[in-house]
Every structure is written in C-alpha cells, then in structure tokens.
Symmetry: C2
Subunit: 198 residues, 2 copies
DNA sequence: ATGAGAACGGAACGTATAGTATCGTAATGT
DNA sequence: ACATTACGATACTATACGTTCCGTTCTCAT
C-alpha cells in the first residue's frame, strides 16, 4: 500500500531510493528504449529490491510516466512579442528533446493510451501541463491584440508545434534550430491570412 | 527459413493461412492494442499453428509492420489545383485513420524505431511510401508554378501534415474534416508569405 | 532502553508470453 | 511410390512481470 495507516509510525520510505529508482529508469529508457526496460533492470541499476519499486508504483507504466514527467519542462518566455516568445520556447523545446533521448519514449506511451485508460489518466495531465507555456503565450498575444479574438488557440498551437513534432517523432531526424523561425512565421502568417478573410 | 531451397518441391505455403494471419493481427490490434497482442492469440484467431506464423515472419514485429502496411493507403489526387488536391487527400487521410483503429499502433512502432534498427529498416519504407501521394502533389504544384521553386517540399509536407498528425496521435481527439480546409490554407499562405520575402 | 510498525534489499515463486522444436499428417512435384 | 516441404498441435525453454516471503534496519512512542 502506498500510504501506511499511520504516517508517523515505522520506518519512513527512503527518498534516496525513490530518486535512485527514477534516475535508473530515465537512464535505462534513454539507453535501451521502452520495450527493453525491465523492472529488474531498474532495481539492479538503482541498487534496490523489486519490492521497493512496487511499493511505490503499482506497475511499470506509472513508473515510466513519473520518470517522464520529471524531465525538465519548458520555461515560460514573455518578451511581449509572440513571434519572439514562440521562437525562444520552440528552440528550447528542440534542445530538450535532442538532449534527452527519453523523449523517444513518448510515442510508445501515446500509442498505448488508447487501449489503456489507466495510462491515459496518468499521462494526460502531464502532457497538458507541458503545453501550458505555449498556450499562455498565445493567450497573452490575443489579449495584446497580436492575434484576433476569434483565433482558435488550440488550432494555433497544433499548427505551430505540429510540423516540429512530426519531424521529431516520425522522421526521427535531427532538426536545425534554424528551422524554428520560418515555421513560426509560416504558422502565424497562415493564421493571420485566414482570419483577415473572416 | 522463409525460402525453401527448392521452391518447386514439397507442399506450398498456404496463401489462405497467410491472409488469415494478417487479418487476425489487424483485428486483434484494433481490438486490444499493440502491447496486448500475443502471437498465440493471433494463431488461435487465425486457426493456425504458431510455427506457421514464425515460418513467415521472424518475430512479432515484422508481422505487425506487414499488417500495418496492408492498411489502405492514400489514393493520389490530381485535380490540377494544389489546395484542392491537399484538401481531398487529407480528408481521406483523416477518414482512413478514424475508420481503422489500427492506426493507434503507429506511435508504438515509431517509439521503438530509435532503439531497434531492424524495425527501422522494416517500417521506414512503409512510412515513406505513404507520404508519396502528398509529396507528388506538392511537386506537381511546384512544376505548375503554384509553389516557388525554392520552397522546401519536405518542410511544406511537415507543415501540412504536422498539425493534423499531432491532433490525431497526441491529443487523440476526433477531428472534424472541416478543419482540413483552414489548415491547408494556413500552411500554404504561410509558405507563400515567407517565400515572397526571399 | 524497549518494543511496535513499516520499509529495506534479496530471493523465491506463479503466471504469461516469445520463440524453438518435435510430433504425425497433408499436399505438392518428380 | 517417394522425397520434400508445409500444416496444426503440442511440449518445451527462457525471460520478465508482479507477488510474497524472509531476516534486517530504521523511526517513533512509551
């Protein structure tokens, strides 16, 4: 059971072990990918018994999700100019994904979500949270009048992230940060063009 | 061994069993997802022995890739107008993916590609082939002068497919075909805007 | 101090599945 | 007829998830 009946009784859970497990999970995911990840491997790498892992996470999946959610996320950028904000954040986004091979796990998780409600409940909030800085930048731009009030912000976000995400996950190719500028420009120009027609 | 020494000796492989195996794979993937797919399950559903499966596919992965590649692909559309071509094809694309839950498998496969060269070699040609109709439409438009010669067609394809792919795989939400028009318009307007600046 | 409670690492266990091997049988070409 | 190969069925090996026990260690309450 995750929470003992009396929290101030008995030996407390080792925070050290907790972090060692998460770190080992991240390392092994990066090295060998998701399907090659074994709980035994994590336990060995972390210097921990399997029971210690299952005491904290009900199965491999929640462990992976928590390890994933520990990845550094986007920092919010607010320069007062939408293009600037988006370019900076997307460059950072690229950097994060190139620097951490753990990102390769995301498609695996996504793929299983549809048939695994438990995973969906675990993963969806994490994904939503990661898009927040982008959404907020778009909202601010809308408030400033940089984007018209009737622009669909979710569509805008997909339009901006989509091309980069597709390259990142599907083609698997490294992406020059240089590409971010044109992509943002195109997306915004496209949005403006459509909206100025109604 | 997949190819016997003398192809015209002995009992020939049953084409019926071959198709039954692929069909069973497709059905089970659609019903239960990738991680729940078992070779025994496929064999049972197909009314076939496991050996018959392993005689044709070296492991579960190639089987899944071939089942996936059997999905109906995009038909090429050539109306003489790029926007028209793209809208028609993307609507068909959406229809295909909404109609066949097997599409949910793609992210799983994509996720494992990075750490599995064998899978990469199997899957990459299939993915490339599926983008062909889109690429060809863009090439034709470029020849007609509808797109400038210096437009990066790969980037253009990512710009167009990206937003829809992200919604399809990541947000997992159903997508109104109505959204295709604006997305294509935005992407192309964006491309033109950037290119007319240099 | 001492004892209760809980987590610790380690190891054994049960179940499920990938993949291999072997059975007797069925189908094809020579 | 005979050689050859595939067939479905079944048993088998190896691996890995997840559970359960062990003796030990840590922390708090008394």
């Amino acid at each position: 059971m995750p929470s003992p009946g009396n929290p101030s009784a008995g030996r407390p859970r080792s925070e050290e072990a907790h972090q060692a497990i998460l770190n080992a999970t991240v390392e092994l995911l990066a090295e060998q990918g998701y399907s090659a990840l074994t709980v035994e491997g994590v336990a060995t790498r972390a210097g921990v018994g399997k029971a210690t892992i299952y005491r904290r996470w009900s199965s491999k999946l929640p462990l992976v999700v928590e390890a994933f959610s520990q990845l550094p996320s986007l920092e919010e950028v607010d320069t007062g100019d939408l293009v600037n904000d988006l370019e900076k954040m997307l460059r950072e986004y690229l950097h994060l994904f190139h620097a951490s091979p753990l990102a390769a796990v995301l498609p695996s998780l996504i793929g299983e979500r549809r048939h695994n409600p438990e995973l969906s409940e675990l993963l969806d909030p994490v994904l939503r949270g990661r898009r927040q800085p982008l959404n907020r930048a778009l909202e601010r731009a809308q408030e400033r009048g940089e984007l018209r009030a009737d622009v669909d912000l979710e569509l805008a976000a997909d339009l901006i992230v989509g091309p980069i995400a597709v390259r990142l996950f599907f083609s698997g190719a490294k992406i020059h940060p240089r590409i971010v500028g044109p992509v943002v420009q195109m997306a915004l120009d496209g949005l403006r063009a459509v909206n100025s027609e109604g």
